[in-house]
């Protein structure tokens, strides 16, 4: 079994518990304006696919295995990210299975836009889902990510109800996702999912824009006001009193 990845990053300390190795799988059904991993997408303009390479499951596992001592020490493991790892469902499943048999903790970092059956197939093999929620308004979601959000919300509900460990991730993009309407809509949605307790806020940074510029991609976002610590704190304070465990970054 082979698949396409564009990077393997060690000492990943923001992609789940402990010290991790993050494997970035190529391909993504979304096209978010603020994407900071444009090389994870399907396009290859401007050298986006230069780092993409076809690898076998065993090659990936061999690389992952090298840092086992750090996972053991820190309660870490492997994170599959992208792109969207479920854009290569068979490959992802094979990787998760291989990790499962080696006793490695696994995390899948997903945008949620994949057939529910694919989630069903990997659910048991995944220790933790890092699950992105971006926009609750469907039109806005379509505008900024290129796809509707119904499937994203459905899958999230399905996973949580199924008892999967899910950490929600909300990218805070000034004036887009970081709005009163959007955040309260997210909160209302979460009320039906009492088992979901962990939220990570990912404040917007210039990093993605710089990277997109490097690849010669247009900047649809334009100049955004930067988020202050206080801005982020406001969002933290919105969720914390409701019993959520809120982290900033990773």
């Amino acid at each position: 079994m082979t698949g396409t990845i564009f990077d393997i990053k060690k000492y990943a300390i923001h992609d789940g518990p402990g010290i991790r190795t993050t494997v970035f799988l190529k391909g993504c059904p979304m096209d978010c304006w603020w994407c900071h991993n444009p090389e994870g997408g399907d396009g290859d303009a401007g050298g986006l696919s230069e780092k993409a390479r076809t690898v076998s499951v065993s090659e990936v596992i061999q690389e992952i295995d090298k840092d086992r001592i750090f996972y053991d020490q820190s309660g870490g493991g492997v994170t599959f990210s992208g792109g969207e790892p479920l854009a290569q469902p068979e490959f992802l499943k094979a990787l998760l299975e291989a990790c499962h048999y080696r006793g490695l903790h696994t995390t899948v970092d997903t945008c949620g836009y994949a057939p529910t059956e694919d989630f069903e197939r990997i659910c048991e093999l995944t220790g933790l889902f890092l699950y992105d929620i971006k926009l609750m308004d469907n039109d806005q979601h379509k505008k900024y990510t290129g796809v509707p959000n119904d499937l994203v919300l459905k899958n999230l509900r399905w996973l949580v109800n199924r008892g999967a460990q899910v950490q929600l991730r909300i990218p805070l993009i000034p004036d887009i996702t970081d709005t009163e309407d959007n955040l309260s809509a997210i909160y209302s949605f979460l009320e039906d999912l009492p088992d979901l307790r962990g939220i990570s806020l990912l404040p917007y940074n210039q990093f993605g824009a710089d990277k997109r510029a490097r690849f010669g991609l247009g900047d649809r976002l334009g100049k955004l006001p930067s988020l202050t610590k206080a801005d982020v704190e406001t969002v933290v304070n919105r969720f914390t009193p409701l019993g959520y465990e809120v982290k900033v970054g990773g």
Partner: protein
């Protein structure tokens, strides 16, 4: 910190290092009387030491609580003409050099020219060494194959254990007398030599007590004249302390610190032990005094802190004595390498961290001084809190404390044949060197330029820098049919140069034993008193001589490049490669790019280069380890550079790893600067493939951006990273938490970054005090950022 400490600290920071001729003058006065010629060497040395302690100027700085300086004032730094007699040119260089300068007055120059140099020239140990080593040694030394520690500095490198906290010098004197009484002139042919040595120790013990009582009297005089009643009381108290210690065992926290300080001054006045001498496991030694005094009410947490801070300032007042020539290049710093050990384990193997450990860590953080250096020994039994507290200080970007693996240190010593008890009571000193505190003479004999040996191998015994044939003819590499043949040739050259180094060391050891014994130091290190032998002559319980390998990353990457491109891919030939090295890759950018970017490199957890690294390690180990020295001990290896990786790089042409002529080599066991591209875990994995347990210390520096360590989570993950490295037997790790950007700014505007301290190798230094090449080398080190 309170006003008193702030003033003393500012005074220490502001003091400019100057050459003080006091010691040189007193010593020469003593020897010029001619009495030394009528005495045995140890007794003559002891008498000269006593003369120094009798006549040395006393210094009590305003408001200070612990007294005594090496020179007449803070940072007034003596010379040791009996070791190295400076020339006028040396003094000019010291006075004018941009970095690590010492002011030399006109009077100093005149005295040196008219009195000191004429007397010592030809008699100094340095002169004797260069006369007694053979021409092969001189050739290799001049080519930069190795350096020699003992040509300007004494074979010190030892650390004190707990013996002074339970005994006074009067007790030591009794022990000396007992040992003398037990000499058997009928059966022991060495009995006379031993009697002389013991007699010398006895004189040296008197000398220190005399020095302390001079202070007691001076403090009494000052107290009488002091108008401020609070200070008057303090001075009286200090006088009382100096009356008690070091003659008697200390009875309080304050006395313990003053006692140690007198001992420290004795050691560094007797000889220039470059220095490393320090109290060692300070948190353990002082704990009983701290607890007792707190309980009885004579000490509060605040006064304990103030006394420790005063103690810290005393270290910072003593720059390493001036170094010249190659020694200045290999160790270009004011730091005198006193490395205070904290944490670790007790004699029975339990975690030794205690409340005083944390108080001392507070002091380190608050004082933020270059000296003393500090480190935390982390055992698997150490609490996380200890490591976390150390990391909180490290993340402020100060390069201290450094982190050591107690469990490795203990195993290293046990492998060398030390008892488990002695090993657990030991630690690391200097940069990273393992030792049995209070019981071992562990001498670094010199840095060894592994990469230069490869260069000579690639040139069939010729040094391309001079065209001189200084190696053996190990074969024309153009004719090598396999990588193994290259490794065999390298092994021949390595054996050749290690033989030269060890032969030189044996000569040098004997010269020191014969001409410059150290009777005062001998009182302090077991078992010199009971065996009646000098520290410099095998009196210590353990006697280890190290050869320190440098450039492990550079030689590994160079060999990997040859193997990969010439023998595996066959896209280059040896002559083609050598031609390009000769021209420093001129017009060969593509080839150099291939060597830099398309070649396996050490530091990436890639078995291809890492296996070559272990091959080099094994060859080096085999060439050195276990060979006998002249003191009943053995030669061993360790892997650290101080600043010699810069000097060693300056004598090597371009290398097959794509490094250009003259550029610094890799540092410690760290990868070549910028060659590690897979993050810190990969570096640690690669470095852990070295068998640290068979060394006497390895040095690994990593650079992190401050951002990664801002949060509690980031700090915790760093702790896990370190624990994992130590689980893999890693010996030492230290971090620079500063961005390359900040360093570049500091390079441009040094005046704005006077206080920026960075980790250089096994020590920290002010960034703006480093040479430009070393600054660039640190900037180039890979920075682990955010993933």
């Amino acid at each position: 910190m309170n006003d008193r400490i702030k003033k003393l600290r500012d005074q220490s920071l502001a003091a400019r290092p100057v050459i003080s001729m006091e010691r040189a003058k007193l010593l020469t006065d003593f020897y010029q009387t001619g009495q030394a010629e009528r005495l045995s060497a140890p007794v003559a040395r002891a008498m000269s030491f006593k003369y120094l302690m009798e006549h040395k100027e006393l210094c009590v700085n305003n408001g200070e609580l612990i007294v005594g300086e090496r020179g007449p004032a803070p940072k007034a730094t003596p010379t040791y003409p009996e070791i190295c007699t400076h020339t006028m040119k040396d003094f000019d260089i010291l006075n004018s050099r941009e970095k690590v300068a010492f002011a030399v007055s006109e009077e100093t120059r005149n005295l040196q020219r008219d009195v000191i140099a004429p007397f010592w020239s030809g008699r100094s140990i340095r002169d004797r060494i260069f006369k007694k080593v053979d021409s092969a040694w001189i050739d290799a030394y001049e080519a930069g194959i190795f350096t020699e520690f003992m040509e300007q500095r004494a074979p010190g490198h030892t650390v004190l254990d707990d013996k002074i906290y339970g005994k006074g010098f009067l007790d030591f004197t009794k022990e000396i007398e007992k040992s003398k009484a037990g000499l058997d002139f009928y059966k022991d042919p060495e009995a006379l030599a031993k009697r002389e040595e013991l007699e010398a120790m006895s004189i040296a013990a008197d000398a220190l007590m005399l020095y302390a009582s001079r202070y007691a009297e001076k403090l009494e005089r000052l107290a009488k004249a002091e108008p401020n009643t609070a200070r008057k009381k303090e001075l009286e108290k200090m006088a009382g302390i100096c009356h008690r210690v070091p003659a008697h065992a200390p009875g309080s926290f304050w006395e313990a610190l003053q006692y140690y300080w007198f001992v420290h001054l004795g050691v560094i006045t007797e000889l220039n032990t470059w220095d490393s001498f320090n109290p060692g496991r300070l948190d353990r030694h002082l704990l009983p005094f701290y607890s007792r005094d707190l309980e009885s009410g004579v000490l509060t947490g605040e006064t304990a802190r103030e006394l420790l801070q005063s103690f810290w300032i005393k270290f910072n007042n003593q720059p390493a004595p001036p170094k010249v020539g190659v020694t200045a290049q290999e160790s270009n710093t004011y730091t005198d390498f006193c490395l205070i050990n904290l944490g670790g384990v007790t004699e029975s193997g339990d975690s030794a961290a205690n409340e005083l450990t944390f108080l001392i860590l507070d002091v380190i953080e608050e004082m933020r001084l270059l000296q003393p250096s500090s480190m935390v020994q982390v055992s698997k039994k150490s609490p996380d809190r200890l490591l976390d507290r150390a990391l909180e200080i490290i993340r402020t970007g100060y390069g201290q404390p450094s982190l050591f693996n107690t469990d490795s240190i203990v195993q290293e010593m046990v492998r060398q044949g030390k008892t488990v008890k002695d090993a657990r009571n030991g630690g690391a000193s200097g940069c990273v060197e393992t030792g049995a505190f209070g019981k071992e003479s562990y001498i670094l004999t010199g840095y060894f330029n592994l990469t230069k040996v490869l260069e000579i191998t690639l040139n069939n015994g010729l040094d391309p820098a001079t065209g001189k044939e200084i190696g053996v003819r190990s074969g024309d590499p153009a004719g090598f049919a396999s990588f193994d043949e290259l490794m065999e040739a390298f092994q021949k050259q390595l054996g050749h140069f290690i033989d030269i180094k060890i032969k030189g060391n044996i000569v040098i050891e004997r010269l020191w034993a014969e001409h410059l014994p150290a009777p005062f130091m001998s009182i302090l290190i077991d078992d010199c008193i009971s065996t009646g032998r000098d520290y410099n002559n095998g009196g210590a319980r353990y006697n280890t001589s190290y050869v320190q390998g440098v450039g492990l990353g550079s030689i590994t990457d160079s060999l990997a490049a040859v193997k990969y491109h010439v023998f595996d891919k066959k896209n280059m030939t040896i002559p083609q490669l050598l031609d390009n090295l000769k021209t420093n890759f001129e017009g060969a950018d593509d080839l150099r790019k291939t060597l830099l970017d398309k070649t396996p490199k050490y530091g990436n957890d890639d078995s291809y280069p890492d296996e070559i690294m272990t091959q080099v390690f094994e060859l080096f180990f085999k060439a050195v380890d276990g060979r006998p020295n002249t003191k009943g001990g053995h030669f061993r290896i360790n892997l650290l550079p101080t600043t010699s990786h810069v000097y060693f790089g300056s004598v090597i042409g371009a290398t097959p790893d794509g490094r250009k002529r003259g550029e610094p080599l890799s540092e410690g066991v760290s990868p070549v600067q910028g060659a590690d591209r897979h993050g810190p875990t990969a570096v640690l994995k690669s470095a852990s493939k070295i068998d640290h347990i068979r060394t006497g210390g390895t040095l690994l520096n990593q650079k992190f951006t401050p951002h990664v360590l801002e949060t509690k989570d980031g700090l915790e993950k760093l702790r896990h990273l370190i624990r994992a490295y130590f689980t893999m037997d890693g010996h030492h790790i230290q971090f620079n938490v500063v961005t390359a950007d900040t360093l570049r700014k500091a390079q441009k505007n040094p005046e704005k970054y006077r206080d920026l301290i960075v980790r250089v190798a096994g020590y920290s230094d002010y960034f703006v005090d480093l040479g430009e090449d070393l600054q660039n080398e640190i900037i180039k080190r890979t920075e682990h950022g955010l993933n």
